[in-house]
Amino acid sequence: MQLSFEKSRAGRGCSMMPACDVPVSEVPASLRRVTAARFPQMAEVDISRHYTELMKRTHGVNDGFYPLGSCTMKYNPKLNDEMAVLPGFTGIHPLQPEHTVQGCLEVLATLESYLDEITGMKAMTFQPAAGAHGEFTGLLLIKAYHESRGDVKRDKIIVPDTAHGTNPASSTMAGFKVISIPSNEDGCVDLDKLRSVVGEDTAGLMLTNPNTVGIFDKNILEITKIVHEAGGLNYYDGANLNAIMGIVRPGDMGFDVIHLNLHKTFSTPHGGGGPGSGAVGCKEDLAKFLPLYQAVKDGEGYAFRNAERSIGSVKEFYGNFGIVVRALCYCMVLGAEGIPETSTNAVLNANYLRVLLQDTYKIAFNNICMHEFVITMEDMKKEIGVSALDIAKALLDYGVHPPTIYFPLLVEEAMMYEPTETESKDTLDHVAEILKEIYAKAEADPASMHNCPLTTPVRRLDEVGAARNPVLKFAF
């Protein structure tokens, strides 16, 4: 398929702009750009077809099962998209006076009230644009908290080795050193190890529960207590909230600050990698450090308020507002009954898929799991050389999106499946059949597995070449 630049022809174009209705002024030569910027020159019909071609080479949740562990690829309701692009929202300049944006402030404040209740937090900001951005923000709250109390020697964040890479990376960005603690054989936090590393230099612990192998750590209250007793705070990575929302609240587990991934748990679309929204909630003690521009109820209406010792801003304006609108619609539709129903069904689906596969594949921790479970291909890799990667690529030939592979690092040749609640039993039965078929093929002809995928528009790529000799833009 050609690039738009390759389809470009001088003289083609669209006519979007009218003639100038005031005297034309030219930028003086001394200020003017010397080499012009070149963009494709295409007629509208060709642009339309170009993007249709690209669309056909894209795989969305609307195309089929998307069991990416840790990503919660649930169905994206269309109501949300329609509401987010209402002119009453898209036409609003962020610097309009408060009395003209009461609807926007109401959206922010209303979603906050839903999410504070669901998470057990007291206050929330929607400024962070993604989960990692939220982690960074939450960690800065912890930093500001300790500094405000003159407790400046707390420079360590404890992170389990099963954590998503953003956890330690965010800690470094926030100026902390990372203490990585190894997990138990069951993937949970080793309490003794935790006790041995907490101390006067502990700023906090970053944790997700259920953890990244899909298990709810039943020692969670003890864990958060150990950190609190050492003077640290507990940060909740909300990536796995889809397992427990409405069932148990991070605030009740002993967490002081959390981030949510609205693009995971709260159904906002992934957009091919973004935009997301990493709302950050916190308990009373940390609320005074939240980023600027919180929307709060003010008499009969709403207003912006700045936290008294705000850490400032992590981006311009108030966050990915269009994403917030979508998440609000979702919460309103689900409501008090729908929220726990969603989590329960997510966990039910995951366990059902697990038992369908357990006689064929090796499940890493084969007990009741939460919203996701991990399969290990370690034995097959050792015995006949077929890896998690091979299985993933084989799925592509069936039109099924692969699960997350090689994460978490705790499990060798890991494949992490998260079906979510929006998949039907029929889909799960069907996918289990496919996976069993793939397993049988792998046993019968291991070598053939290294050639998958066979039917996709392009096949396995030379990633080494791409990294050694980077070509990162079109060469005119």
Partner: protein
């Protein structure tokens, strides 16, 4: 698997494990090789075993000339497509030269590990316990 095919697989694994070990060099337990140029000057690189374990390398992050390196601590890292691995210094000293060719051609580490030196270190004041080629070969076989 049948007995015949099982044996074939084991033979292949064993063959792959017999790595090239250069005789006149010394080796660290973390698979770096050390060429002693004189009493206080060494060159450091990665062994054949190391490059084989790491897979195709796509980039190297080297220190700068003048930087201090410390025995047992990382002084560089190598990137493959999906991973980053630390390279540990077997000596304490000052970096006197870096192999800039590696920055443009990291594949050299895979193709010619003993020619692809990373750094030259002068004023060597401390060395880790180093293995000779025989001891190192043994270490690799046991791995």
């Amino acid at each position: 698997m049948t007995a015949v095919s099982e044996a074939a697989v084991i033979k292949k694994i064993h063959e792959e494990a017999i790595m090239n070990v250069k005789e006149n060099l010394k080796y660290s337990k973390s698979h770096e090789w050390v060429e002693e140029i004189d009493a206080t000057t060494v060159k450091i690189g990665l062994s054949d075993f190391a490059q084989h374990e790491l897979g195709d390398l796509v980039f190297v992050n080297l220190p700068e000339v003048g930087d201090t390196v410390t025995a047992g601590e990382t002084f560089a890292d190598v990137e493959s497509v999906k991973a980053v691995s630390d390279v540990f210094s077997p000596v304490t000293g000052t970096v006197s030269a870096i192999n800039e060719e590696l920055l443009d051609n990291p594949a050299a580490i895979n193709e010619d590990p003993y020619g692809a030196w990373f750094v030259e270190v002068k004023e060597v004041s401390d060395k880790e316990e180093l293995l000779d080629s025989a001891a190192y070969s043994k270490l690799c076989e046991e791995a």
